[in-house]
């Protein structure tokens, strides 16, 4: 890992123009992913974490969403100055995306192989045979067993974890420098979640891919991330190395969130309380007002 930045989001603001007025989904957010690092972007629903990652790819889609300010620096260039055509050359070869719902990211009418080959041919301009070999390599990289046969499988024939592996394979097939993963394991079983996260760790170590991991789960952060940024209601509240944020969270919101999570391994003090009396930390209405002011 170096001090160079794979991605720098500077003072990014995103507004949504809804029927009920303007919603400031992201407010002057600063987020940096160091080269070779895995940044966990943590927040609850409505925090702006997913909007931020979509803004990086300029995939905010609707005409109601407007990027009102800031810069997104990738390889020394501001992505917000790029034309749509230039962005197409960046999405895929340079920045890959893995979404939460692998089933909706894959087309049900085409085989896994066809969908991999399409992406590889589009971005790398190789012939079909070469693309097929590369597709196989991509599936082997994500440790999908029996990859040759899987090329001919349709998405519905695979389990949730296998589909997520395929989506990761597609995202990595062009060896992007940066991978955006938006809640990649939320829909999966605990055991499968761990396998997919370990896969991301392997990819990060072997290929040096920098990863921006959007999540609401501090357990996921503790398992894979090197750095953390915490967002709430469009604001970045806290950022830093994972050791610092998880062991000495500075912001009351981060502290509260961490205490709200049920634990499997309890300390003696907690265990000595009868189970029926144990309660998790809750933000009270007063706390919310203080947080809003802060």
């Amino acid at each position: 890992m170096t001090d160079a930045m794979a991605l720098e989001v500077k003072d990014l603001s995103v507004d949504f123009h809804t029927d009920g007025g303007v919603v400031h989904a992201v407010r002057a957010a600063n987020i940096s992913v160091r080269e070779g690092a895995i940044l966990g972007l943590v927040g609850e629903s409505g925090s702006g974490k997913s909007v931020t990652s979509l803004a990086v790819l300029r995939l905010l889609g609707t005409t109601r969403a407007k990027i009102t300010g800031g810069q997104i620096l990738f390889r020394g260039e501001n992505l917000l100055d790029k034309t749509e055509k230039e962005m197409c050359a960046i999405r895929g070869p340079h920045i890959g995306m893995v979404s939460q719902n692998a089933l909706s990211a894959l087309d049900p009418s085409f085989t896994i192989g066809a969908q991999l080959v399409e992406v590889i041919r589009l971005h790398q301009g190789v012939d079909k045979a070469t693309a097929r070999i590369k597709a196989l390599e991509a599936l082997d990289l994500v440790a999908l067993p029996d990859s040759k046969r899987r090329l001919k499988a349709y998405p519905h024939e695979l389990s949730g974890g296998q589909r997520q592996r395929v989506v990761i394979a597609i995202a990595l097939s062009c060896r992007p420098e940066l991978l955006l993963a938006d809640e990649p394991t939320t829909a999966l079983d605990a055991t499968v979640q761990k396998q997919i996260l370990d896969l991301l760790l392997d990819i990060n170590a072997e290929l040096g891919t920098s990863i921006l991991l959007v999540t609401h789960d501090f357990g996921v952060v503790a398992h894979v991330c090197t750095d953390v940024t915490v967002m709430r209601r469009g604001d970045v509240l806290e950022s830093g190395p994972v050791e610092q944020v998880l062991t000495r969270p500075q912001h009351p919101y981060t502290q509260g969130l961490m205490r709200a999570v049920p634990h499997l391994h309890l300390d003696e003090a907690t265990r000595s309380v009868p189970r029926a009396d144990r309660r998790l930390f809750e933000f009270r209405t007063e706390d919310k007002e203080t947080l809003d002011v802060a």
Binding site: E44, S45, G160, D189, A190, T191, V192, Q193, K194, L197, H216, D217, F218, G219, V220, V221, A222, H223, V242, E243, L246, T247, G256, L257, M258, A260, V261, P262, H263, L264, H265, L266, R275, A276, R278, R279, L280, F281, E282, F283
Partner: protein
């Protein structure tokens, strides 16, 4: 019946679904195979397993929402398997369920209050005015406002929908509640509120609960006893303090290892 006897006991419970194999031939799929456990009064029993382990099917059979192929479920000593529909309906006011996605369990075209009140009139437990008063009380208890009575389900957030689901489950004053992944779709801070609410309600109403989940941290937090299902079989069960600290079966160990704690472990590189 002595007070120490379990409220609910399940023995040799089995569920076989008829499916079609690759060649279109009829085949049997055993979803739940010889499962047995007991749930003590006022306690929460955790039913743990990965997707496809049969935990939800077991929960549904306990409620009579799914017919057991064989085996027995007794509630206060009364056999439930093979009950007539009428007797089952009588039993239903004692046992209720909170689903993972309570939002989809409400009719989008009717006000939520009327739907929560419906079982009261169905079971002739209250007049219309009494039912409304009772629902308003319950809404208040689960942290909602009286003005929410006449709203529709799409107007509520995920956490509020789960509160509505809990209110509806409690309206007939049941003794036993099945919670099927009640917080899987919620934000961390909302999950904490819902879990705390469930514990408070359990104490106030002496509720007995069956928690279906794959999240062991939830089981540690909520349950005194638990059982682990794997491919329809109960592979291990016992007090949670033993089960999760000294797991015997491979699947339990695998599930324990898969829990990601929000702290940095010493082994992490």
């Amino acid at each position: 019946m002595s007070p120490s006897a379990p409220l609910m006991s399940v023995t040799n419970l089995r569920k076989v679904f008829g499916v079609r194999d690759e060649n279109g031939k009829r085949a049997d799929f055993v979803a739940v195979d010889d499962v047995g456990f007991e749930v003590n009064r006022g306690e929460t029993f955790g039913l743990i397993g990965e997707s496809g382990s049969g935990k939800t099917t077991t929960g549904r059979m306990v409620l009579g929402l799914e017919k057991a192929t064989s085996g027995s479920v007794t509630y206060e000593g009364n056999e439930l398997v093979g009950l007539s529909d009428l007797d089952m309906r009588r039993y239903r006011k004692h046992v209720q369920i909170v689903f993972q996605d309570s939002g989809s369990a409400f009719n989008p075209r009717r006000s939520v209050g009327a739907q929560i009140a419906y079982p009261l009139t169905l079971f002739r437990m209250a007049s219309r005015t009494e039912a409304r008063a009772k629902v308003l009380d319950l809404l208040d208890r689960v942290g909602l406002q009286p003005s929410h009575y006449d709203r529709y389900v799409h107007e509520f957030s995920g956490g509020q929908r789960q509160r509505l689901g809990i209110a509806r489950a409690l309206v007939t004053d049941p003794d036993f509640i099945v919670l099927d992944e009640p917080t899987a779709a919620l934000d961390v801070s909302v999950q904490a509120q819902i879990l705390n609410l469930l514990k408070d309600l359990q104490r106030e109403r002496k509720l007995t609960m069956l928690l279906i989940t794959h999240n062991l941290a939830l089981v540690e937090h909520m349950c005194e006893h638990a059982g682990v299902l794997d491919h329809g079989k109960l592979v291990e069960s016992g007090p949670v303090d033993d089960l999760l600290t000294n797991p015997v079966s491979d699947i339990t160990r695998k599930l324990v290892d898969a829990v990601l704690e929000p702290e940095l472990s010493a082994t992490r590189g």
